[in-house]
């Protein structure tokens, strides 16, 4: 062992070496366990451990039987709860008995002395390393890897080019077109009624009392076969009515609300959670995911949290029958920001 190490010189870096450091005193005297000294105690431990193993077997059988004592009755949730609990407990107890038994056997009865194994440096010994180098050199000579540079470089080039087709293959993970062109449109358009989520009942302006919050989806989304959730993820809206004196509206957006009723996208401009926690006295909206807060009284300006942009407002009006309708689509993309958002 010593000679193997001598051929490797490794730097100790900035380690301090102290010639007068204390010396390793060698192994402590072996301590005896009660089970080594008293055969009676050892027999006792043996009996205990085999009892644990036997118990484990019985518990496994019990877990099997408990499935029939506590069967799952369709429609009865309590039966599922009991099945889960009792079968699980029996299996768990069986596993724990087995584990405790095995560990106790190892600790109390198996040979208790510590053994010593030599360590060697991880690197191969010099002869092995020399032979490995030799093999590489032979292979190089026989193949001409370094000599035939054109051959080698063209091979590397070909290998690098190999994955290029995958880029095209992966393109069809998504349908034709781009995401940007889909993100700028929602189902809202001029005259589409605001309806209640999830049942699609249209909403009259007079239904929206002060302090109310309606969760709204566009009327034309109801019955949509393809992409219902995709569209809902963009067009979910929160409808609220504020006292007129509480609402501060910008001059150019005065026509977007109706008698204190305002509609804002429910999809957070941060990462897209539904911002739906409306406080009717403070007029604050809170996102439960990352705590961004928006002030409904001030065009949903961000007042706290990681969001950067106000929630987009849906311009609304009332149709001839008194129902709330959209004046148009949102005038900006809803939801989280993306690279080409305002292109």
């Amino acid at each position: 062992m010593a000679d193997k190490k001598s051929d490797v010189v490794t730097s100790a870096g900035s380690a301090v070496s102290r010639p007068d450091r204390l010396q390793n005193p060698g192994f402590e005297p072996e301590h005896k366990r009660v089970h080594d000294e008293s055969p009676e105690r050892a027999r006792g431990a043996e009996r205990g451990i085999s009892l644990l193993f036997a118990l484990s077997g019985i518990l496994s059988a019990a877990a099997f039987t408990l499935n029939f004592i506590f069967p799952i009755v369709p429609g009865d949730l309590l039966s599922t709860r009991y099945n889960n609990m009792f079968v699980g407990l029996a299996i768990a107890a069986g596993l724990l008995c087995l584990g405790v038994g095995a560990v106790h056997w190892a600790k109390a009865l198996m040979h208790g002395h510590e053994l010593v194994e030599e360590r060697h440096t991880t690197r191969g010994d010099d002869a092995t390393r020399a032979r490995a180098v030799e093999i590489f050199q032979e292979a190089n000579k026989e193949s001409g890897w370094t000599r035939r540079r054109l051959l080698r470089n063209s091979l590397i080039g070909a290998l690098v080019a190999m994955p290029i087709p995958a880029i095209a293959l992966l393109r069809d993970l998504a349908p034709a077109g781009t995401l940007e062109e889909k993100l700028v449109h929602t189902m809202w358009e001029k005259g589409v009624r605001l309806t209640r989520d999830p049942n699609g009942v249209p909403i009259k302006a007079s239904d929206v009392t002060i302090g109310s919050a309606f969760h709204v989806i566009p009327e034309n989304i109801i019955g949509l076969e393809e992409g219902f959730l995709n569209e809902k993820a963009k067009s979910a809206v929160l409808l609220m009515r504020l006292p007129l004196d509480a609402l501060n509206e910008a001059e150019d957006r005065k026509g977007w609300s109706y008698d204190g009723i305002v509609a804002y996208s429910k999809i957070c401009t941060h990462v897209g959670c539904p911002v739906a926690l409306y406080e009717q006295q403070t007029h604050h909206l809170l996102c439960p995911c990352h705590q961004s807060q928006f002030d409904v009284a001030n065009h949903c300006a961000v007042i706290f949290g990681p969001a950067a942009r106000p929630l987009p407002q849906l311009p609304i009006a009332v149709d001839a029958e008194g129902y709330l309708v959209a004046q148009s689509d949102f005038l900006e993309p809803v939801g989280p920001s993306y690279w080409e958002r305002i292109r």
């Binding site: 299996i91 510590e114 053994l115 030599e118 993970l173 920001s337």
Partner: protein
């Protein structure tokens, strides 16, 4: 029967039919596989005994439990986003539209024998798996067990940690319930924030717009095929390297850098490790039978409009969620028509930086010490005060982010405001790691001083005697040489000297190394040496 077994059977010892059978089978296998070589090589390999060396085993065993329970779940789970009507046992969801994925998860929960149990075993084991990896990494970090020759195994373990989180997140998404759907929504928002490529990655991942009809089957393939294959392969390499490098051991009498002291694999270690597998399995099973985890039936099917208060990811993603929550308002700007969402990019970059530092730490420390020797003695954290302090700072940073993910629950439980909690955590994110660094270093140095005291003067015996001169003094009982050795045998480093290289120049690299080295090793306590001990005896 072979000659060998026949010979054995003639021996007077109690070799019954059972032994003959075992011998026969072993012979049969060995003649076809030469397995005796493996038994000879591995059978008596030594594993040192210390409780902290079993943390990786917890991770390994919970992974086996995950594989077993996960296989059961695949028999009943349907990874499809096709819309169906639920008509199972859970009354509050009867007649509701949902994806086949969610509906099949509900069915296996309520109507399949052992389905709920296996789901809860799977999820609890997954949480435990990542937690055990984390704790195992902390043990390896704080004992310096990542040093040569184990740097590569540290990196492999680190990749396993990342893969475990990926496994966890993909699995968490599969039921397609409201909670996990909002989790995916957040991931989508983060992906979209990436400059240039984000929109495309989101488009391809979801097969169109969010949420689309493709993401669940795609995550399923990752969750049950690609990621587990990688995890199993890397665990295999991790274990092979463990056998090649042999396990580290703590300093102790008779233990050196050139030996390993402990129990042999056969029989003691195998019995302990095998028994421990059943204990880990048993604890997971016990918890799964008594405690609900992820009650997906409460959340309902994914729908982009509703959301639940207290929407959080599983714990191991919490630090990322917390980072998002701790960003101040308004960090987004537009340059030339392109949107830079710094409120998401900054967290992504900071988290990446954090985990990359974790990954490359062994190489940083090796560069600072310049020590090229192999190290097989696990260090006590106090004996490397700066590393311990860096670790404490990292843990604190992570913990603050983690608390950030629970800001709303902290606010309701401690009757305070969300805004106050977040502001406090924002300040703590900067201040607490520095404070933790400083405190951990002070504590480590103090403990080292205490060790010196003990070696030099022994324990206080609480016996007071009066000396002939009238002076009172407490008698100290000296340590025996074995106890002393545990306290004095550690590696000690001095700040690297700034020296010109062969060409007589001082490079920038050398300057940097010297100043980092000073930062590491300026404050240090030397171990007691023979002379000091002898002078103390008189």
């Amino acid at each position: 029967m072979s000659v060998a077994t026949q010979k054995k059977s003639t021996a007077p010892t109690s070799t019954g039919a059972g032994m003959r059978f075992v011998g026969g089978v072993s012979n049969y296998i060995d003649e076809r596989t030469s397995i005796s070589g493996a038994v000879k090589f591995l059978g008596r390999k030594i594993f040192p005994d210390h409780w902290s060396f079993m943390l990786g085993e917890i991770a390994l065993y919970s992974f086996i439990v995950i594989l077993l329970s996960g296989t059961f779940l695949t028999f009943f789970y349907d990874p499809s986003m096709v819309e169906v009507h639920y008509d199972g046992s859970y009354v509050p969801l009867k007649g509701i539209h949902m994806s086949a994925a969610y509906s099949s998860t509900l069915n296996l929960t309520f109507d399949i024998r052992g389905g709920l149990l296996m789901r809860q075993v799977h999820h609890w084991a997954a949480l435990l798996f990542v937690a055990a990896i984390g704790l195992h990494m902390l043990r390896v970090f704080f004992t310096g067990a990542f040093r040569k020759p184990r740097e590569i195994n540290w990196v492999i373990g680190f990749v396993l940690f990342i893969l475990a989180m990926a496994e966890g997140f993909t699995g968490y998404s599969l039921p397609d319930d409201l909670l996990s759907g909002n989790g995916l929504r957040i991931i989508d928002g983060m992906i979209k924030a990436m400059p240039g490529i984000g929109t495309w990655i989101s488009y391809l991942l979801f097969g169109g717009e969010f949420p689309g009809n493709d993401v669940i089957p795609r995550l399923y393939v990752l969750h049950i095929m690609l990621l587990p294959a990688l995890v199993i392969a890397l665990i295999a390499i991790h274990m092979v390297l463990l056998i090649i490098n042999k396990h580290t051991q703590f300093a102790g009498p008779g233990r050196t850098n050139d030996n390993v002291v402990g129990s042999p694999i056969l029989p003691v270690f195998a019995a302990k490790a095998g028994g421990f597998f059943f204990l880990v399995f048993g604890i997971i099973m016990l918890i799964a039978s008594l405690f609900t985890i992820n009650p997906i039936w409460n959340y309902g099917p994914y729908d982009p409009s509703p959301v639940s208060a207290g929407t959080q990811p599983d714990w191991y993603i919490g630090f990322a969620d917390g980072m998002l929550r701790l960003m101040p308002s308004g960090w987004e700007f537009v340059v030339d028509g392109y949107t830079w969402s710094l409120n998401l990019l900054v967290p992504i970059v900071v988290l990446m930086l954090f985990i990359v530092i974790v990954m490359v730490y062994p190489f940083i420390e090796a560069w600072v010490t310049g020590d090229k020797r192999e190290h097989h003695i696990a260090e006590r954290p106090r004996n490397q005060p700066t590393r311990t302090a860096i670790g404490a700072a990292g843990v604190t940073f992570y913990a603050v982010l983690w608390a950030g993910a629970a800001s709303d629950l902290i606010a309701t439980h401690f009757r305070t405001t969300i805004e106050g909690v977040i502001l406090t955590l924002q300040i703590l994110l900067i201040v607490a790691p520095v404070a933790a660094f400083w405190m951990a270093k002070k504590i480590a140095l103090a403990l080292q001083r205490k060790d010196r005291e003990l070696v030099l003067h022994g324990y206080e015996s609480s016996r007071i005697v009066r000396l002939p001169g009238g002076e009172y003094r407490e008698i100290h009982t000296p340590l025996d040489e074995f106890e002393q050795w545990k306290l004095v045998s550690f590696d000690e480093y001095a700040p690297a000297q700034l020296r010109p290289n062969a060409r007589g120049k001082i490079t920038i690299g050398a300057r940097m190394r010297s100043s980092v080295s000073r930062f590491y090793f300026e404050d240090r306590i030397a171990p007691v040496v023979t002379k000091e001990l002898e002078s103390q005896k008189h």
